[in-house]
Amino acid sequence: MAPVNAVMRIIDVPLRRLQKATGIGGMATFFLAPNMLIFGIFVLLPLVINFVYSMTGGTAFFLSERDFIGGEQYSRLFQCQNYLDPMSCQEDAFWTAVGNTFWFVVLQVSLMILTALITALILNRELAARSFWRAVFFFPVLLSPVVVGLIWKWILQRQGLLNFGLYQFGMDPYTWLTDRNWTFAATIGVSLWAHMGFYALIILAGLQAIPKDLYEAAEMDGTKPARVFWRITLPLLAPNLLVVVVLALIKSVQVFDEIYVLTGGGPGTSTLFLTQYIYETGFASALRNPGLAAAASILMGGVLVVLTLIQLGIGKRGENKGKR
C-alpha cells in the first residue's frame, strides 16, 4: 500500500489548495470539466456549427467562404406542391427519402418489436442449449454494418447464395436487388437480422426480472397461457418494451450504412433513406450542398427529439399508473 499512499500524498496537496481556493462547489466543476469539455467539443459544438451551416449557401466547405442566406435552405426543402408526391417538390430526392424512411420506420420497428419479443419469449423457455441459441441471435449485433451489408449482398445479388440455392432446387434465379419491392423488403429484413438480437436481449432481461412466483400464482389459479401473457407478462414487460421502441425508432430513422453497402439506395431511389440523402447532398454528389444537407439533418434531429419526447411522456404516464 505504501506506493499508493505516496501517490495519494502527492495528489493531495494541489487538490487541497484548489478546494481552499474554489470551495466544494468549485471542486464539482473541476471534476466535471473534462467530460463537459469532450461533450462540448464533439457534440454540442458540431450541433451549433451544423445549424450555422444550414443558414448558409454555396458549395464551399469552409464557413468563412460561405454566404449567410437565412432560412432559404429550409424553404427550399419545403418547396412543394403536394407533399405526398415527391416529384412535385423542388427537392424531390429529399421527399422521396422522407417517404421511404417513413415506411421503413413503420414496418421495421413494428416487425422488430414483434420478432424480438417472440425471440425473447422462446429464449426465456427451458430449451436445450439455451446459451448457444442466445449467443446465435446476438452475434449479428457484433458485426460491423459494412460487413452486414456485404454478407447480404453476397447472398442476394444476381449470382449470390440465394439464387445458387434456388438453382440447385430447380427454381429460376431472381434479381432480388433490382426489383423495387424485393429490395425494400430486403432492407427491412437485413436490418431486422442485424439488430434484432440487441432488442431481444433487452426484452429477455425484462422477462427474467418478472418474479417466477407470479407465474406460479397464476398456475395455481388455473390461468391459461394466453391470459398469462396478456395480463401478466406483457404489462410487466412494458418498461422494457418502451426502451426497445425508443431505441429501435431512433436507430431506424438513422438507418444508413448497411443499406448503403447493400443497395446504394437503389434500384432508382427505392431504398434512398434520409441519412443517405443527407450524406450524398452534403459530401458525395457532384454539386455538393452542405447547407442543404445541414438543414435536412436539423429537421431529422427535430423529428427524433419530438418522437422521443412523446414516448417518454407515454412511459412516464404508464409509470405513474403502475407505481409500485
Binding site: D213, E216, A217, A218, E219, G222, T223, K224, G322, R324
Partner: protein
C-alpha cells in the same frame, strides 16, 4: 373436505434427492406446520403438494383421490407465497378477482366473494390500491385474501410471515390462528421459525435433509423429542447437550458421569443402558436449577443477559457450553461460578446415534 395423504413421496432434482420417502396423513381441518432448517425440503414438499413440482415417486392423494397427474389448478388448493406474489400492476380487487375470472365465474359471485374476503381480512379500505402502495402487513392480507376467495379444500402457506417485522409477525400469527378456527379448512404451513410452529400447529412435522424426523403435537415434540435433532430444534433457547458416560446401572436407575467426574442419578424406566456406554444428555435451559451444594457441577459464567422477567446465563461446564434461563432477576455476573443440580431437571438421554433412550422425569425445582 381437505384430507391429504402422502405415501412414500420422493422428489429429486437430477441426482440430488430432496425428499426421501415422505409418509404423512393430514386430516381434514387440521393445521399442520412443516418446520426445519433451510434446505431441509419443507418448501419443496409444500410445492409438490401444490402441484408446482412433480413428484419423482410415491403418491399424493387429496380426499382419497390420487392427484399426482392432476394440475396445480385442478387440485383445489390455494397457496400463499412467501413473497406474496401479488400482481404489481393490478389493484387489490383485480388481484383477488384474477383467479376467479379464469373459471368463468359470474361477475356477481366474484364480487360477492371478494367483498366477503375483504370484510373478513379488513382490507376494504384499500381495494383500489396497487400492492406497491400497501405495507407489508396489508400485502400479506391481500395474499391470504386471494387464497380465501377461491374457497380451496386446503390452504398452503409458504413462510407467509417471514417478510414482516417482529411485532407484526406476532399479531398476524394470532390472526392466522383465528382465521383457521373460523374457516375450519385444512392448512399446511411452512416455516423455519419453531415459535410459529409451536403456536399455530395442531401437529408439527419436523424435517431434516429431505426426511421427516418426527410428527406430533407441539407438546409431544417438546416433551418427548424422538431424537437429538428434534430436541435441539424445538424450544427456545436451544436445549443444552452434555456428554456423559454410564457409570452404573441398576433396576430402573443409572448413574451417569459428566465431564470432570460430576455424577447424577437418573431414573431410566425400562430403557436399557450398559455400563461404559457413551450417551448425550439434553437439558432445557429453563429446567436448570441453581444449587448451593458445591458438590454439584460448577459452571463458570461468561455472559449474563438480564431480561427483567428472566436472566439468561451463558456458561461453561467442563469445556461444554451451557445456557440457563433462570427465573426473575439474579445477582450473577460474568466470572462467577454457579452450581447446577443435574438430578432435578427433566433430562433427555440420547444414544450414540442421537435417538432418545429415555427421559429422566426430574424432581422439579
Amino acid at each position: 373436505m381437505g384430507e391429504i395423504k402422502l405415501t412414500d413421496v420422493k422428489k429429486s432434482f437430477g441426482a440430488l434427492a430432496v425428499l426421501k420417502d415422505i409418509d404423512l396423513h393430514i386430516k381434514d381441518g387440521e393445521f399442520v406446520v412443516f418446520v426445519g432448517p433451510s434446505g431441509c425440503g419443507k418448501s419443496t414438499l409444500l410445492r409438490t403438494i401444490a402441484g408446482l413440482e412433480k413428484v419423482s415417486g410415491g403418491e399424493i392423494a387429496i380426499d382419497g383421490k390420487r392427484v399426482n397427474e392432476v394440475t396445480a389448478a385442478d387440485r383445489g388448493l390455494a397457496m400463499v407465497f412467501q413473497s406474496y406474489a401479488l400482481y404489481p400492476h393490478m389493484s387489490v380487487r383485480q388481484n383477488l378477482a384474477f383467479g376467479l375470472e379464469n373459471s368463468n365465474m359470474p361477475k356477481a359471485e366474484i364480487t360477492e366473494r371478494i367483498n366477503e374476503a375483504a370484510r373478513m381480512l379488513e382490507i376494504e379500505a384499500y381495494m383500489d390500491r396497487r400492492p406497491g402502495q400497501l405495507s407489508g402487513g396489508q400485502r400479506q392480507r391481500v395474499a391470504i385474501g386471494r387464497a380465501i376467495v377461491r374457497r380451496p379444500t386446503a390452504f398452503l402457506l409458504d413462510e407467509p410471515l417471514s417478510n414482516l417485522d417482529a411485532e407484526l409477525r406476532v399479531s398476524t400469527r394470532a390472526e392466522l390462528a383465528a382465521l383457521h378456527a373460523r374457516l375450519g379448512s385444512t392448512m399446511i404451513y411452512v416455516t423455519h421459525d419453531q415459535v410459529e410452529a409451536m403456536t399455530l400447529a395442531h401437529r408439527i412435522v419436523v424435517m431434516r435433509a429431505g426426511k421427516i424426523e418426527q410428527v406430533g403435537t407441539p407438546l409431544e415434540l417438546y416433551n418427548e423429542p424422538a431424537n437429538r435433532f428434534v430436541a435441539g430444534f424445538i424450544g427456545a433457547p436451544h436445549m443444552n447437550f452434555l456428554g456423559a458416560d454410564v457409570l452404573a446401572v441398576s433396576a430402573g436407575a443409572a448413574t451417569l458421569s459428566f465431564s470432570r467426574g460430576y455424577r447424577a442419578d437418573l431414573q431410566i424406566g425400562k430403557a436399557k443402558l450398559h455400563v461404559g456406554e457413551k450417551v448425550t444428555v439434553g437439558v432445557r435451559p429453563q429446567h436448570l436449577v441453581v444449587s448451593d451444594d458445591p458438590q454439584h457441577p460448577a459452571v463458570k459464567i461468561y455472559l449474563v443477559e438480564a431480561l427483567g422477567s428472566e436472566t439468561v446465563v451463558h456458561g461453561d461446564l467442563g469445556g461444554e457450553k451451557v445456557l440457563a434461563v433462570l427465573p426473575g432477576q439474579q445477582k450473577l455476573n460474568a466470572g462467577d461460578t454457579v452450581h447446577f443440580d443435574l438430578s432435578k431437571p427433566v433430562l433427555h438421554v440420547f444414544d450414540d446415534n442421537g435417538l432418545r433412550l429415555f427421559t429422566h422425569p426430574g424432581s422439579g425445582a
